[in-house]
């Protein structure tokens, strides 16, 4: 004969938003890794800049109208698109928390379209940089920064597509609602990183 | 564990440690030795070394005593003893005091080291503008040293390789560059090392206080023959140095005898002329070491071989035997041609 006290955890849910869920932690740790990577990329940018009297370096051609500064159009459009796309993402996030499947479906589709748009614009941004990756160190680092961020746009958009397919075709369960919120965090992070990179790539050379 | 099985490892251990320590003091002298200083830079560092070595040895011994003392109470088969979860206040307080004291001493020792290190570094006086005078530019190549003596008067500028002469008691500015990959210029008897990095210029000053020959060696892995990229620094009295320098600024000795002329002809008709310069002749390539005064050097192939006729012949015929992978090709010359070439080169004093 023995007595036992019991802590009964059977009523606990299996998923929950934000810091409750290990997926939140996993996602944010991965973002910490990528943030370190971007921080070092940015440090490299400034380090290499010290080696140049003029940044970007002057063009070895005679036409005075050639401006080696990266052109602003596509970059700025992309920045606006990404910032605005956070809107539908936030609404989707809130809808996932409120268990509103319909709004999630629409919101995610809009986000996916924004993501695709951003990728296309990013393609144009590469051409707006006067130099190629193999022209000089300036070209190398700028292409790398644009490229690494584009890699994230690709992963982000793909992840969103997969989630969209899921919530159209399968259960709108707690696990995948948490996934939507997680993708939301990733979305805001990609935007934030881009804002930082945008300022550095497009405006630091214009500081003179 | 029986007494014997405990004593034997202890004996072996003591023997080994004794051997280790003995081996250390076996070679305190010698060239290419950082704690056998021949100049103020190396002497400064050597003093710092001894300070740190002595203090670190004391710390090590104290920590080892503490570890050994903590082993003084022994037992066997302790797995079923009741663990102590509530040690006495008294004993915890004593431990705390010891740990805090030890930590404090650690911090103090570290401060001592920091100050010693910093003041040693300051008196090494890098880039000190008062120490101008003789200025030498060293460029590291795979796997030899290009040495260029600078001067305000252009006629005093000359290039040599692998052997540097400096006057005793005079600080000499070195400016260091890398031609291809990173090398490191290190003459332990005289100073610490500095890297030769392509795209950068590094500077250091060196002074020898005793005449002598000091061997240095490349200290940054630079490819196949990193192991055999050494150099000599010859410190000599000012007058002797001046004579040496005067000679080095001269153009090459003209080929006198027939054999030497034949040798010079061979030099120009084979691959030699494509890499090596001899001032005063049309040979002007600086891909390889400058040979204008090659016969005046003590060593060949970046201090790998003693500069004798025989070694030179062997080296020219097949450099790959001595330094496999280096950039000098084999030269399939007949014995007579080889002898003539060597005669000529050995005349270039």
């Amino acid at each position: 004969m023995s007595t036992r006290a019991v802590i009964d955890i059977s009523k606990l849910p299996s998923h929950e938003f934000d810091t409750y869920d290990p997926v939140w932690w996993g996602n944010n740790l991965l973002l910490a890794i990528e943030t370190s990577m971007f921080a070092i990329l940015i440090a490299t940018y400034f380090y290499l800049r010290q080696n140049f009297a003029l940044w970007p370096p002057p063009v070895a051609q005679l036409t005075a109208t050639l401006d080696p500064l990266p052109q602003l159009t596509y970059g700025t459009l992309n920045t606006l698109l990404l910032v605005l796309s956070c809107g539908p993402m936030i609404l989707t996030d809130m809808a996932a928390r409120r268990d509103n499947r319909g709004v999630c479906q629409i919101g995610l589709v809009i986000c996916v379209l924004c993501g695709l748009g951003a990728i296309v614009l990013r393609g144009f941004e590469f051409s707006a940089v006067y130099f190629r990756w193999d022209s000089n160190a300036y070209g190398s680092i700028v292409w790398f920064m644009l490229g690494m961020h584009m890699l994230h746009l690709l992963v982000l958009t793909t992840e969103s597509v997969l989630l969209t397919i899921w919530i159209f075709t399968r259960e709108f369960d707690m696990k995948h609602r948490v996934d939507i919120v997680t993708v939301g965090v990733y979305w805001y992070w990609v935007t934030a990183m881009w804002l930082l990179l945008y300022v550095i790539i497009y405006f630091v050379p214009r500081l003179g | 564990m029986s007494k014997t099985t405990r004593t034997i490892p202890r004996l072996i251990l003591t023997l080994v440690l004794a051997l280790c320590f003995a081996s250390c003091f076996s070679s305190c002298g010698g060239i290419q030795n950082a704690i056998n200083p021949a100049g103020p830079n190396a002497a400064n560092i050597s003093r710092l070394w001894w300070l740190m070595f002595i203090i670190c040895s004391i710390v090590f011994v104290l920590v080892m005593i503490a570890v050994l003392l903590s082993l003084s109470k022994r037992t066997t088969e302790a797995a079923d003893r009741v663990p102590v979860l509530e040690p006495s206040e008294e004993s915890e307080r004593r431990r705390r005091n010891v740990v805090v004291s030890a930590t404090t001493i650690t911090v103090i020792v570290l401060f001592v080291f920091l100050i010693a290190s910093y003041s040693s570094g300051r008196s090494l006086g890098l880039n000190d503008p008062t120490k101008n005078g003789l200025s030498i530019e060293v460029t590291g190549h795979q796997w030899w040293w290009e040495v260029r003596y600078q001067d305000v008067d252009a006629s005093n500028i000359f290039t040599t390789a692998n052997e540097i002469h400096i006057p005793v008691g005079v600080p000499v500015m070195f400016s260091l560059r890398g031609a291809d990959v990173i090398h490191s210029f290190w003459v332990p008897n005289l100073a610490g090392k500095k890297d030769l990095i392509p795209g950068k210029i590094n500077t250091m000053w060196i002074q020898a206080d005793k005449p002598g020959v000091y061997r240095g060696q490349c200290a940054e892995y630079c490819g196949f023959q990193h192991a055999k990229m050494a150099l000599w620094v010859v410190a000599e009295p000012q007058e002797q140095f001046n004579l040496w320098r005067q000679n080095q600024t001269q153009q090459a000795v003209a080929a006198a005898s027939d054999v030497q002329k034949r040798g010079q002809q061979i030099f120009f008709s084979t691959t030699c002329v494509m890499c090596h310069a001899i001032n005063g002749t049309p040979a002007g390539s600086n891909i390889g070491p400058n040979l204008t005064h090659v016969a005046s050097r003590h060593m060949l192939a970046a201090a790998t071989l003693v500069n004798t006729r025989e070694h030179m012949a062997q080296w020219i015929k097949d450099p790959q035997t001595f330094k496999p992978g280096n950039r000098m090709p084999q030269n399939n010359l007949s014995d007579a041609d080889l002898q003539a070439l060597v005669e000529y080169l050995q005349s270039l004093k």
Binding site: I7, Y47, K175 | A34, S184, P188
Partner: protein, 656 residues
């Protein structure tokens, strides 16, 4: 109101539950099982075995080098072969042995020590292992085909650049870095996720075992340090493959940039290797001193501050470059300062041992070896921290001596101690104590014979990475002594291998807790069941087994029919979720293959990344959609409202 419970009924119910748990957590069998198994213990043992094989390979490379260097102008190895061997030796030991094996201990023991059934992300764990294996196989395939990298384990540019390292040798090295670094990062995410969120109730943050603290600090270091080497190797690979100019001074690139990028990773890397070993030492000392650790809080703070300060030292590898001296002095100060937390830990451990009646079994013997060897290595580290002194001893055999004293003394000796300590838990058998003592003494004597003379050799002018030396230098005697020592050290390792093989068959059967230790892994069978704990424990203190009382509450409510474990809060380990643990799946292996194809083909063409991205995308999609636990789950999750706060009221112990 307490109610008496019938013992026999209870025992029967328990037995039934165990059967169900065994079925639910059953590991897949056969060849397919090897590729799909997600059990953290199985993956960890695989990591340990693989890393140990790499350790032996690295040791053979070292032996070859010592044979070559035993005599001046020796012709045992030609320079090309020697240069490949020293590069592969360093690369193997640092990337393929040390980091993976330390991560592996974390993957095996963190769930057990915190009272969880599995790690937080089991499939990711499988992916991490296969990526690591592919990276290691890549390096050795190249090495055996005589295209091993030969630019040193840190591959400085311009030597490793396209102009001076033709062919694919360095590209292979750079991509291998990618594999091992992905694997380490994955391991780090898993360790943190598990240690933060899956601790048993009652294991609040001040009760976490020091082993787990060490693993968490290491994991954070991995997260912030690895990206730097990823960029360094990617820049190098792209300079070589697609003509970028990161390191080309002619186009504005910078050779020193590479050194900054590499060492910003490289210095934390050695602490990543060292700190887990500190986590081995604490439990071994506690167990054999049979008292609580002295200075738990200072020890934790020391681990954390070592982790932090470790990021501020990297320029001490670059004192010979033209970096301004003022800046360099900062790094001298930081490099000396890191001795303080290390010192605190050593003093606390000695204080724990002091006065206790000690039974010097093999694990403790290796810890004592650590004290002797690591302290000496740390002291030579202070010498190297000083800029002027470093300018003499940098890049000489003095550094080779120092690094082996701190890495072998600081990591490998505790590692062997850990082998002897935890072998019974993995296998259910004890290793032989007599062989263990022999193992220790051979390694200790052999190690000192090899590496102590190297201090003198460095002072005598012998630089690193030389395939031979001239007889006139007088370095022959000390080199010969070192070479003899190498074989004694090797004999010690051999004794260990024989001991392990013998013990697997004929070792004394270990019970659950042969050492009478205090932490939770010793409260389950040896080896543990697949599901680790039948009932998750409720922890009452820092030393769960020693402090367990008879009336501790029991945790009930996890399903035995689906794979679940408890998720709790970070600070106080309050129960929060019944978290689904995915079961076996082939997709992590497939994604690892896709990763492998991408990066290996990427050695030869940049288009590989496009194809690889598509392959990875497909396999990741399959991973996402194939949820191996889906069918087993109750439908309770569908339509469930969010709980902002877990229903705490229901979680107070109630009596039945």
């Amino acid at each position: 109101m307490t109610v008496a419970v019938d013992d026999r009924e209870l025992a029967e119910a328990m037995r039934q539950e165990r059967e169900e748990l065994e079925k639910t957590w059953a590991r897949p069998r056969g060849l397919w099982g090897w590729f799909t198994d997600t059990d953290h213990k199985a993956i960890a043992k695989r990591y340990i075995f693989t890393a140990f094989v790499f350790f032996l390979l690295g040791g053979i490379e070292a032996a070859l080098m010592r044979i070559q260097l035993a005599f001046p102008e020796n012709h045992f190895l030609n320079p090309d072969r020697y240069n490949q061997i020293f590069t592969v030796h360093g690369t193997t030991m640092m990337f393929l042995f040390a980091v993976p094996i330390m991560t592996a201990f974390g993957i095996y023991f963190v769930p057990l020590m915190i009272g969880a059934r599995d790690v937080a992300f089991p499939r990711l764990n499988v992916y991490g292992y296969f990526v690591y294996l592919i990276g290691g196989l890549l390096l050795y395939a190249a090495f055996f085909l005589n295209t091993g990298p030969d630019a040193g384990w840190f591959a400085y540019v311009p030597l490793s650049g396209p102009a001076y390292s033709p062919g694919k040798r360095v590209d292979i090295w750079a991509q291998m870095i990618t594999f091992t670094e992905i694997s380490a990062l994955v391991g780090a995410v898993i360790v943190i996720g598990t240690a933060f969120k899956m601790r048993a109730p009652g294991m609040s943050i001040n009760r976490i075992p020091l082993f787990v603290w060490a693993q968490v600090v290491t994991a954070f270091m991995i997260i912030f340090a690895m990206p730097a080497v990823m960029l360094a190797s990617s820049f190098l690979a792209s300079d070589r493959l697609i003509d970028t100019h990161f390191f080309n001074p002619a186009e504005g690139g910078d050779a020193i940039l590479y050194q900054h990028l590499f060492w910003f990773f490289g210095h934390p890397e050695v602490y990543i290797i060292f700190i887990p070993a500190l986590g081995f030492i604490s439990p071994i000392i506690v167990t054999f001193a049979r008292r609580k650790i002295f200075g738990y809080v200072p020890l934790v703070l020391s681990l954390i501050s070592t982790g932090f300060i470790g990021f501020g030292l990297w320029v001490h590898h670059m004192f010979a470059t033209p970096i301004p001296q003022m800046g360099q002095s900062f790094f001298t100060a930081a490099s000396m300062m890191i001795a303080i937390p290390s010192g605190v830990q050593i003093f606390c451990w000695i204080a724990t041992l002091w006065g206790s009646r000690l039974d010097i079994k093999t694990p403790l013997l290796f810890v004592l070896g650590f004290f002797a060897i690591f302290v000496l290595g740390g002291l030579t580290g202070l010498m190297l921290a000083s800029v002027p002194l470093d300018l003499q001893i940098h890049d000489t055999f003095f550094v080779v001596a120092h690094l082996h004293y701190v890495l072998i003394g600081g990591s490998v000796f505790p590692l062997f101690g850990a082998f002897y300590y935890w072998f019974p838990k993995w296998t259910g058998r004890m290793l032989s104590e007599r062989a263990g003592h022999l193992n220790f003494w051979l390694m200790f004597v052999g190690f000192n014979l090899v590496f102590f003379p190297m201090h003198q050799l460095g002072l005598n002018g012998m630089p690193r990475r030389v395939y031979t030396y001239l007889p006139e230098t007088g370095w022959g005697t000390l080199n010969l002594i070192a070479s003899i020592g190498a074989f004694i050290l090797a004999a010690g390792v051999l004794v260990f291998i024989v001991n392990a093989i013998w013990a697997l068959r004929a070792g004394v059967v270990a019970g659950d807790n042969p050492w009478g230790a205090d932490s939770l892994e010793w409260s389950v069978a040896s080896p543990p069941p697949n599901y680790n704990f039948h009932n998750l424990p409720v922890v009452q203190g820092r030393y769960p087994i020693w402090e367990a009382t008879a009336d501790a509450p029991v945790l009930r409510g996890l399903s035995t029919k689906t794979r679940e474990t408890l998720v709790t809060s970070v600070m106080d380990a309050q129960p929060e979720l019944r978290f689904d643990i995915p079961g076996p799946s082939i997709w992590p292996f497939m994604v690892a293959l896709a990763t492998g194809v991408t990066f290996i083909a990427g050695i030869f063409t940049p288009w590989a990344f496009l194809v690889g991205a598509i392959l990875a995308g497909i396999t990741l999609t399959c991973w996402f959609f194939a949820d191996p636990n889906y069918e087993n789950k109750a439908a309770r999750d569908t339509g469930e409202k969010s709980h902002k706060v877990a229903p705490r009221a229901e979680l107070q112990p109630k009596e039945i």
